[in-house]
Amino acid sequence: MKLVLKNGYVYDPANGVNGEKMDIFIENGKIVEEVSGAKEIDCSGMLVMPGGVEIHSHIAGGKVNTARLMRPEDHLRNVAPRTSVTRSVCGYSTPSTFLTGYAYSKMGYTTAFTAALPPLMARHTHEELHDIPMLDKGALTVMGNNWLIMHYLSEGRIEHACAYAAWLLRATKGYAIKAVNPGGSEAWGWGRDVRSLDDRVPHFDITPREIIRGLMEINERLSLPHSVHLHPNNLGRVGNFTTTLETLELTRDVKPSRERQVLQLTHAQFHSYGGDSWRNFSSEAESIAKAVNSSDRLVLDMGQVVFGDTTTMTADGPMEYYLSSLTGLKWANKDIELETAPGVTPFVYSEKSPVSGVQWAIGLELALLVESPEKVMLTTDHPNGAPFFTYPKIVAWLMSAKSREEVLERLHRAAQKNTVLGSIDREYGWSEICWVTRTAQARSLGLESKGHLGVGADADVAVYRIDPESTDPARDYEAVERAFSATALTVKGGEVVVRDGEVVKVVSGRTLYVDAGVGEELEREVLKDVDYYFKRFYTVNLANYPVQEVYLTSPEAVKVDSGVR
């Protein structure tokens, strides 16, 4: 299969290409130097970028589906019947799996990672990933409240912790180590939480600080492609920025094993709150951005808020309880034995609410105050800040101070008073947009063949119907939003899958997971502990726990030899 995308304005900042008019050659699913006799598609006057890479989005698994089940009213919006190519779809903040694939693809995305995979539920997550078409996929395995991890770390048995984490990634077919409210979700097993890095986790001789530091050490000893992906403690709490800063400090004594960060601060917006009550709730984006600017070991994704009706969901059980008790709305909770505690509750971000307004501003402030776009990733923590369909709006806000001002004027005055967004005149260019929607994600995840268009890269390409030469995004932000909502072409693995915003071909994509090797002797010892845990505390047999390959669409193991013995 050969293809040439001709004459587009190409943005591939990872390879130093910034808007040059050039051709992209594709053969056998890869970008190549040149091809002959290939089908040519004229892209003149259009914007060409690598396929989008989603790094943090709740698209598959137990709590996503609990949200769907709990919110039929969400599914009345956005329905479409079956076509000759696509399945029927529905859902807004909790879209069906099919819609998830189609909608990302229409926006030019070709890869997506689901934000949290609880090990016991891994099979469920993969069943849903199997039913998300159009994308290469991966999942982040949650470990921040895992009993065995906490035991090993509290006993100082770091090699054992490494071997167990490696086994868990393999057993769950996960791609990276995720931690959610470390220690807090275990405390939630008793209806409690941890509120500082030095609170002790009830019944476990460990603190959040020790868990986070331990996970980073595990991650670097195993030399995993991605860093630890952290949802810190105190999400969504007034004044939580001090916890966040203390957490970021912990990266100082962690040496990266690869050329990448050692910590991804995920949905940073929810962790950058100042004030001491909801009445003087304010932005601390400047403090967080400063910490990120001064370190080469940190990256963040935004967790941007967009106004409207959405669903919050996270493996941070106590936080969902807290939020639902503020709103009085329905609440789902799903504690998972020995592992984690997801929760779900609907939420409405209102332009009239002072809190929502400040939250909206914080996400954008973070993206604009962190100097290097290589350290910023555009996310809404879908659907927590907003459904992912809203990304084109956020692209427009990043590119246009005027568009931000227009929103700011409509909001409660707190959004102006308690943030600095109004004083920021920085506007992103196309290269920066490329960084924050694909290239930075691919780097952070260690995906060498994604996020760029160099020879050998996956032939995942997005072509947007907008002329970067003649468009002034600062003024024509509506045109930017339109263009990013529906590609002229999305190419996945060398095939045209979307044309003029319509899915024309359904492909299934690959599932990526990490297979990190450790010493055999060590692994045997750890498996003895695992076996004991299953016999005593789990309610499924060990033999029925690991996810069989049959659940994965085109599995692709990223093999790592860690050297841990």
Partner: protein, 435 residues
Amino acid sequence: MRVTHRDVVCSFCGTLCDDIEVDVEDGRIAEVRHACRIGTTKFLSASRHEHRLLKPMVRENGRLKEVSLEEAVERAAEILAGAQRPLLYGWSSTSCEAQSVGIELAEVLGGVIDNTSTVCHGPSTIAVHEAGFISCTLGEVKNRADLVIYWGANPMHAHPRHLSRYSIYPRGYFRERGHQDRTLVVVDVRRTDTARLAQKFVRVQPGRDYELISALRAVVNGRKLPMDEVAGVSREDIEELAEMMKSCSFGVLFFGMGLTQSPGRHRNIDNAICLVRDLNTYTKFVIMPMRGHYNVVGFSEVLSWQAGFPFAVDFSKGYAWYNPGETTANDVLQRGECDAMLVVASDPVSNFPKPSVENMLKMPIVAIDVHPTPTTMVADVVIPAAIAGIEVEGTAYRMDVVPLRLRKVVEPPEGVLSDVEVLQRILERVKEIKG
């Protein structure tokens, strides 16, 4: 030659025990260990082929006649593709993989798809839409629970290993002495065998559960009851129960069809979930339905991620529409709003109310099942299927939504395909007919 299969998952009830050992000798199941008597019977009867459906059949001149699989599939596809509003029903005793094909079939046909939860825990699902769902996996109960309540449920009979594997008897991480570390409470209209084991039994008047829950909630939330008795339970008993609930360190309320199918139905569950929510102000409390069929949960899961809704989905207009009361199997049947039926792994002729069955008898029925049933006896097309979890692999979800891989221990009878394969053949043929 005897082969032992270990870690086998029992595909009978929602408890989905996965520690079963099955000995197979000469291709037949010889012995089953660890399973309860119901599960053991299911395993052993699989190999008694004289009780199975073995050949596809099509009704001709009023009689079922053996035909080739191709003929049966052709006839099934014609019936379904020709219908204005086919109803695809059953699904709770088969794998997620089969359910998934069934959902696409419903979508292609423009039909209504519904499962057995419509007559068991459908009300629980409707309640979740309004109140949410405060739950956990069963290991949380095993490791932490010190107060276990069964309300309108009798696991001693319906889920025989539930108490020993998950709730009362197992030793857990924080409950090292097993049942000595826990209190068992049963609320029911009569003293069941489960109630006989309980430290506290609360007898509620039939059909008055809602009032009792409302009273409990008022007391939990600090109100004084103005009456001496609610639903046959004294104020003192209500206050004592409320205090037990508030003062435990991890409580769980398991509920069964005594609560979902008595007057109030989904409202009982809504109120019970709200009670559990109230209790979380004081302590840790969770709630869980005692699901019956082994993969009734899986159907809701697959349908939710593929079509957005958990049961009773109508694809008449090409996209999913859901509203129990209209799109639920019995409502569709009793209003005469469907004109053909596909029944998979279920026996609605035996289980549905009379008005539904009367209308069923007026329309062509395609049945896919393992054993002959009253439904297969009245069907126009009958296609035998292999047993998921014994003869074919697949996925099933436990009552706490934990997914497990079903294992295969013996070959299906010769010529008998899995539900998945049968449904795929019908789907392919329907796609051809529909163009």
